[in-house]
């Protein structure tokens, strides 16, 4: 059951990324390129995604997940070095290629060599992040 609903969720996510145009690197770069021919589509995608999710978060109150277990507890609202450095690095890569993790997967079926190469490099980067993560981690607080 868990796997079935994970598949359904992934399929909705993948279909949404494809239909919204976010698997097209030019649309993402067009959004980030404020000084070029700016394309606001990504803001509509974000807005469209946030609406059902906001409702979903409200529905978690006083309930349990349908398949049991607990809802994830929100992490402490702490802005650490990992969060900031990681997001900056991610943003640079996002701009360079116009792909982030979700769309890079959703475009594999038709994207050709460039998209496959990106995903392989991304997986390598994820591996490389393991030792970096520990090194960057904030010193323990007193």
């Amino acid at each position: 059951m868990r796997n079935l609903f994970a598949f359904i969720s992934g399929a909705l996510f993948g279909a949404g990324l494809f239909i919204s145009g976010m698997t097209d690197t030019a649309k993402v770069q067009g959004w980030l390129d404020v000084f070029g021919d700016w394309d606001p589509t990504l803001a509509f995608v974000m807005g469209g995604g946030i609406l059902p999710m906001a409702v979903a978060w409200l529905l978690t109150k006083g309930r349990r997940p349908a398949l049991g277990g607990e809802f994830p507890t929100p992490p402490a609202p702490k802005i650490g070095r990992n969060l900031v450095v990681g997001s900056v690095l991610f943003g640079m890569g996002w701009g360079l290629a116009g792909l982030c993790p979700g769309p890079s997967l959703a475009s594999l079926s038709y994207g050709g060599f460039g998209h496959w190469l990106f995903v392989v490099a991304m997986l390598a980067g994820m591996m490389a992040a393991v030792p970096l993560r520990a090194r960057l981690a904030e010193p323990a607080e007193a």
């Binding site: 059902p52 290629a97 190469l117 991304m122």
Partner: protein
């Protein structure tokens, strides 16, 4: 007059958010593409391997039946192999350091008004924008 791309963006966004809502309300998990993939790559998510694999399969497979009937979204990824590899590495390292990408921090984080999600989003969009200025308008690489 709202452009057609924006409407499709919003519709796709709703599907993305719906996918996130299913993953949260049914499976009790936060839908973050980089976390779901990263947990498989570095072994930190081994307890939920099949849930992750099923989600990823959904993301990859869903666009296949839509591709022939939907207005064709072609990719515009650069042919510069060095840029693709650098971008993939940056996205992989960055999203794992930051513990999230556009789906986890963006869609799922902002919708619960998470300080970490909003901060991450500001930094990766900012870094993406600066990257566009630098590499497109100054250096002319992308």
């Amino acid at each position: 007059m709202i452009e057609q791309d924006w409407i499709w963006g919003f519709v796709g966004g709703l599907l993305i958010g719906l996918g996130g809502a299913v993953y949260l309300l049914v499976n009790g998990r936060v839908m973050g593409a980089s976390g779901i993939v990263g947990g498989l790559v570095d072994g930190s998510g081994m307890r939920t391997v099949w849930e992750r694999v099923a989600f990823i399969a959904g993301v990859i497979l869903a666009p296949i039946p839509i591709y022939p009937i939907y207005r064709t979204v072609e990719t515009h990824i650069t042919s510069n192999v060095a840029v693709i590899i650098a971008a993939g590495l940056l996205v992989g390292i960055g999203t794992r350091l930051a513990n999230g990408c556009t789906s986890g921090h963006g869609v799922c984080g902002i919708s619960r008004l998470s300080l970490r999600g909003i901060t991450a989003t500001v930094f990766y969009i900012g870094a993406g924008g600066i990257t566009m200025v630098l590499f497109r308008h100054v250096l002319g690489v992308i």
